[in-house]
Amino acid sequence: MTVFFQLAYLVGAVLFILGLRGLSDPKTARGGNLRAALGMGIAIIASLLYPLENSHGNFVWIIVALVIGSAIGWISSSKVKMTGMPQLVSIFNGLGGGSAMLLAFVEFLKFNDSGSYSAGLTSLTILFTLLVGSISFSGSILAYLKLDGKIKDKHVTLPKHTIVNLLLLVVTIGTVGYAMFNPSMMSLVIATVISLIYGFSFVAPIGGADMPVVISLLNSVTGISAATAGFLYNNQIMILGGILVGASGTILTVLMCRAMNRSLMNVLIGGFSATGVAAAGTSTDQGSVQPTQPIDVAILLNYSEKVIMVPGYGMAVAQAQKQAKELDEILTKKGVDVYYGIHPVAGRMPGHMNVLLAEVDISYDKLLDLDDCNSELGDTDIVLVVGANDVVNPAALDDPSSSIYGMPVMEVWRAKKVIVFKRSMKPGYAGIQNPLFFKENTNMLFGDAGKTLKDIINEIKTLD
């Protein structure tokens, strides 16, 4: 009988592997996700029915918990706006880590009661799960608060934060070690609280633009906590599922860093916050910007042949993708070629812009990736930068003192004309000034991108 359930776990584990493989290719991604979900369903049912020695049932508690959790998860995922997606993923991840933390907490109390494991490797496993789960929990919550704009970087960053973090890590490991050799409710609570503080402090100095990298890293941390919890129950699917996430999450984190041409260390010790001030200081005297009006942009667009739009987080905030699509349609009718240049880290998450543009049915063929876009820019008449900033910053190429120096960017200034849609002259998420705005062929169109795009559309209509 037990063998049957273990086979079910095996099927679930294989489905996880197939799911992850599916998720790494655009053609099979959706099926991959469903496969992984099916694997999870099988694992849950097998765990509910698995014959356990000295089981007390408690199925009412279990079913109520499953129903509440499913309802909250389902409602929050179906209500979230596309701009809120990164925050939600972060919260979900934190809940997974928090779950491992709570589980480790009560397991430790139980083992403590029985007395037999108090100094053994099992208690080490439990405390490791507690430590890792807590870090993931509090770190993800802070990442959520930062992404949601509820907390600004400067509010939570201390001077010499890297050193503070190192010291805090030593203290954290110390208190967890103390709890291992002096098991009591008190030492356990202290270890949990200190671990939570460490998770918070670990994320604190990391700049908001690097949040996706951190969430990916915390995601792999949650996976590891699930895997070590799996050792407690000698449960293979927990070990496999957790480690798969831990390993693939680590690789994904590295890939994301590479897309920004930065190292993980550079992200973690807060490269942006350290050099941002200096970079902003050197670029104050750059002359003045040239503002423009929707009517002028409309005329320019009307007589152009090739237009590339470069969207960024600002477009997501303004929900301007509908207007972008409308402008695209009008221009296409007039025989203008319209493309979209998608930078790999535009928006707050990789793929963020693709999701937004897909939402309004913009065809795949019109989307250019970084390299294609840069090779097209030379003979482009007009580039419309809609809410992007750091990904079109020339300082990344020619200013070694800039904190984003070395990051590949869209070289939009090579087009004949650049129109930047922007709310104000405030710097972008990296907190640095953008010399693009001061270039001769750049015009600034201030205001809400959705509204200014709409104005341009209306002006073009009157030109007929």
Partner: protein, 104 residues
């Protein structure tokens, strides 16, 4: 030392599983287009909710008189379940937008 060798001996197969899973995880994700980074992260995140299995086993083994353990275990379970259902659902929503819709 003795407890260590005993632990290793008892868990040898699980340790094999752990090491192989590390390599498998690395191999699975070595080449992913950046468009898929977010859905992949979100999907993998849902899988890490597998810790739910642990909370199910924990609750099933807990004596009904231990209210504290029951309540904490139940909260752990709700959290993991939100992670799972929300994670898979939100990934599905993201990926649904990439699907080519029929042209009118």
């Amino acid at each position: 030392m003795q407890s260590l060798t005993q632990f290793l001996g008892d868990n040898m197969l699980s340790i094999y599983l752990l090491i192989f899973a590390v390599f498998l995880g690395f191999e699975l994700i070595s080449k992913v287009p950046s468009v898929l980074h977010t859905p992949l992260m979100s999907g993998a995140n849902a899988i890490s909710g597998i810790v739910l299995v642990g909370s199910i086993i924990f609750l099933r083994k807990t004596d009904p008189s231990e209210t504290f353990s029951l309540v904490v275990g139940m909260i752990a379970m709700i959290m993991a379940m939100i992670n799972i259902v929300g994670g898979f659902a939100v990934t599905n929503r993201m990926l649904a937008m990439f699907k080519k819709k029929p042209k009118q």
